[in-house]
């Protein structure tokens, strides 16, 4: 298993996780840190937007369905603000039509829960490369 060497926080790219699911907010950061990323988590899109992480975020891991502002809505909002952050959508809803649509609208990837850690890593690499 590949793992990145320890980077200093200044070198670790920031990945923000926005998901109303507590277990996601609990489990993802450790994995992402193993990948060598710095991580910040937010329970809602609104809180992310209100934070100071919008600028520094190199990649956004975004839940699709959330109470309040949904994932796609946040995506639209960021575009409006000209904050082109690469987005990796995660969702439990295995609707086949969802993924193509999201990719079309500019998402890097859409992963279905539960997803493999390697799939997430691949998506993250793509996201950072395109930055």
């Amino acid at each position: 298993m590949k793992s990145h060497p320890e980077r200093s926080t200044t070198e670790c790219p920031l990945v923000s996780v926005v998901d109303d699911d507590e277990s996601v907010r609990e489990s993802l950061p450790d994995l992402l840190r193993e990948f060598g990323f710095a991580v910040r988590t937010f329970p809602s899109a609104e809180e992310f937007l209100a934070s100071d992480c919008v600028g520094p975020t190199r990649c956004l891991i975004l839940d699709l369905a959330m109470p309040g502002m949904t994932g796609p809505e946040l995506q639209q909002e960021l575009i409006r603000r000209r904050q082109a952050i690469p987005i990796i959508f995660i969702t439990a809803n295995r609707d086949k039509t969802v993924r193509p649509r999201l990719l079309e609208q500019g998402a890097v990837e859409c992963l279905f829960k539960p997803f493999r850690d390697t799939d997430l890593l691949d998506a993250l690499n793509i996201a950072l490369r395109t930055n």
Partner: protein, 664 residues
């Protein structure tokens, strides 16, 4: 010639001739007087001037005369005065010398008074002799006879049928009014006319004449003769002639009474009725045939002893045989479905003994088409005690096929519904389970990476492992607290009657239960208090219990598949509904797991019904449980609080918890 008047003791004054010897004349007169007195006939002699010259003893008695009445006129005698024209008639007699009679009545006695001229030897009329004959008896018998005759005539004339009396030589003597009227003839026209000449030869029948002769001869009784004829006045008619001999004692002359019974109208009516009943018969036969055709029912008769079988046209059509083919048991056998032949043979064997039978079997047509027929037959015994079956066979193929199709469609629909709702449920479960599952995989992946690091991150690994276990438990909880099929916002609480809700469910399920041969019984308490609940959800629970109970009895053959649904008040302000079956029951080991999600003893079920039902009931603040019966089967029951207890909560919402997430 000179006349001499002599006076006698009793007042006789006679005229005597010139040359008579007074003594001799006196003697003769006395003898005469004595004779006259002995005679019971009253005699009165009147002179030419109508004065009374003489009367005898009887006359004195009758008329109340005394010697002083000599010389008086009849007008002086009360009785004689009652004879109005007496003097007139006397003078007429004197003049004409011819006697006459007059009737008179004294009280209730009838007399005939004979007035004779009193003549001398020289034929000179000297007066009149009155003799009184009492004809009372005679007269009354005459009257009686006249009366009776008149009565009889009246009766005969009232009789509508013509009657005629013939003489021994078959001539018409007399007839009643009906006779003359009917034939348009008069008494004079027909008097003495031979019967055979009547009615322009209508009765010129050899048969009639011969019969009358034989009857009159006494050799044979008369047999009524029917005569058809077109009469000039009456038109076409039919009569029945009957004849009776008439003979009276003292009369040697034989007579015949002939009666004519006009049956023209009756014959016409009978002909019309025959026509009508023929027509009616034809119509009813046509109705029957049509009815048989429409209902696809044919009828048959089977004489068991002779094996003679008769079929209606429709039955030929059902069996698809030509009508000319003679029907035998063997022929029938060629159409019976081979699998059902044993049943048919068994039926035939038993039929020779029983009196009624009924069963269904299949026919196999030459083109391999299968027909279902329903047969009923009733045994009757003829006058000789021989057994004959009369029966009907109905082609019920259509019904059977549509029943099967319906049954198939219904089960397919049920399957579909189950699959659909299952699909919905599965999707929602999947969705809910995916969240913790995702966490598990992420944490476990992290754990592995941490352990592979150099040096391994033991603390981190421990933490991720802990989270993994926790998420695993969460997933298990999700599955345990299944989401109901109806989302939270569709809930509608109302005060409801559990009996009514139950009846709705059972009436909807009746078909399904009947097709599974389940005998459904209700024992719904009359005084059941209302409950607050979601009607649809509670009905779902009842339906689930009903279906489970029916399914549990699926293989039961040795006892009736009885299902008892019962409502009652539960102690402690609750309402209890129980469903008791006579099925396979459950083992003590299974008892604990019955309400677990996904637990099932059924081969094709997911077993989620009971766990959802329990959730629903618990959400209603009730409880659902199962007990094994004393006999076979199990009883599932739930109890929920009734209105009274939750009255306090009526203002506020019932404390509803989402069965899946546990959120209020």
């Amino acid at each position: 010639m000179t006349t001499q008047h002599g006076t006698l003791d009793n007042g006789w004054t006679g005229f005597q001739g010139v040359n008579s010897d007074v003594t001799a004349a006196n003697t003769a007169t006395t003898d005469l007087i004595n004779i006259l007195d002995a005679v019971e006939v009253p005699v009165v002699v009147l002179r030419r001037d109508f004065t009374i010259a003489y009367f005898n003893k009887a006359g004195a008695d009758m008329l109340g005369l005394s010697p002083s009445d000599i010389g008086r006129t009849p007008r002086d005698i009360p009785v004689l005065a009652a004879l109005p024209r007496l003097e007139q008639q006397c003078s007429q007699v004197i003049t004409s010398k011819v006697e006459s009679k007059v009737d008179f009545r004294d009280a209730n006695k009838w007399f005939v008074v004979r007035i004779s001229p009193c003549m001398q030897s020289d034929r000179q009329v000297t007066g009149s002799v009155l003799t009184f004959t009492n004809v009372t008896a005679f007269r009354s018998s005459i009257d009686q006879a006249i009366y009776e005759r008149e009565c009889t005539k009246a009766i005969l004339n009232t009789v509508a049928d013509p009657l005629v009396v013939l003489s021994a030589d078959q001539r018409i003597q007399s007839g009643n009014r009906a006779f003359y009227t009917m034939f348009g003839v008069s008494r004079d026209e027909t008097q003495g006319v031979p019967l055979c000449e009547l009615g322009n030869g209508a009765f010129e029948l050899a048969l009639l004449r011969t019969q009358l002769e034989e009857m009159l001869a006494g050799s044979r009784a008369f047999q009524p003769v029917e005569v058809d004829h077109v009469f000039t006045v009456k038109g076409p008619s039919t009569f029945i002639l009957d004849a009776h001999p008439l003979s009276f004692p003292g009369h040697s002359e034989r007579r015949v009474l002939v009666t004519f019974q006009d049956i023209t109208a009756r014959k016409q009516a009978e002909a019309a009725k025959d026509l009508r009943s023929e027509e009616e018969l034809r119509r009813s036969e046509a109705f029957l045939a049509e009815g048989q055709r429409l209902s696809l029912t044919g009828t048959f008769s089977w004489k068991v002893a002779t094996e003679e079988i008769t079929w209606s046209e429709q039955l030929y059509r059902i069996f698809e045989f030509d009508r000319s083919v003679p029907v035998t048991l063997g022929l029938i056998g060629t159409r019976v479905h081979p699998d059902d032949m044993p049943m048919l043979n068994d039926m035939i064997d038993r039929a020779r003994a029983v009196s009624d039978f009924e069963y269904e079997h299949r026919l196999l047509m030459p083109d391999h088409f299968i027909k279902f027929v329903h047969l009923t037959a009733h045994g009757v015994r003829d006058s000789q005690g021989r057994l004959e079956y009369i029966g009907a066979v109905q082609d019920v193929t259509q019904r059977r096929l549509s029943e099967e199709a319906l049954g198939k469609a219904r089960s397919e629909l049920a399957n579909l519904a189950r699959i659909t709702s299952l699909g919905v449920l599965t999707a929602s479960i999947a969705h809910e389970v995916n969240q913790p599952l995702s966490g598990i995989i992420t944490n476990a992946s992290t754990c592995l990476r941490m352990l592979s690091a150099d040096p391994p991150n033991i603390e981190g690994a421990r933490e991720t492992a802990r989270r993994t276990i926790r998420d695993g438990n969460r997933a298990s909880d999700v599955i345990t607290r299944l989401r109901t099929l109806y989302s939270k916002k569709d809930l509608s609480l109302e005060a409801m009657d559990l009996n009514e809700a139950t009846r709705e469910v059972t009436s909807l399920s009746l078909n399904e239960l009947q097709s599974k041969r389940v005998i459904l019984r209700h024992e719904l308490a009359d005084d059941l208090p209302p409950v607050i609940g979601d009607r649809v959800q509670l009905q779902q629970v009842i339906l689930n219990l009903l279906r489970n109970a029916a399914d549990a009895m699926n293989g039961v053959e040795d006892r009736p598949r009885e299902l008892l649904i019962k409502t009652e008040c539960d102690q402690g302000d609750g309402v209890r509904l129980s469903v008791k079956d006579a099925g396979v029951g459950f083992t003590p080991q299974a008892a604990d797991k019955l309400f677990e999600a996904f637990f099932t003893t059924k081969s094709d079920g997911m077993g989620i019904g009971l766990s959802i039902s329990r959730s629903i009931i618990e959400a209603h603040r009730g409880r659902l449980w199962a007990t094994a019966n004393d006999g076979p089967g199990a009883t599932f029951a739930f109890s929920i609080p009734c209105w009274r207890e939750s009255l306090a909560d009526a203002e506020t919402r019932l404390n509803w918890t989402d069965p899946l997430t546990g959120a209020a």
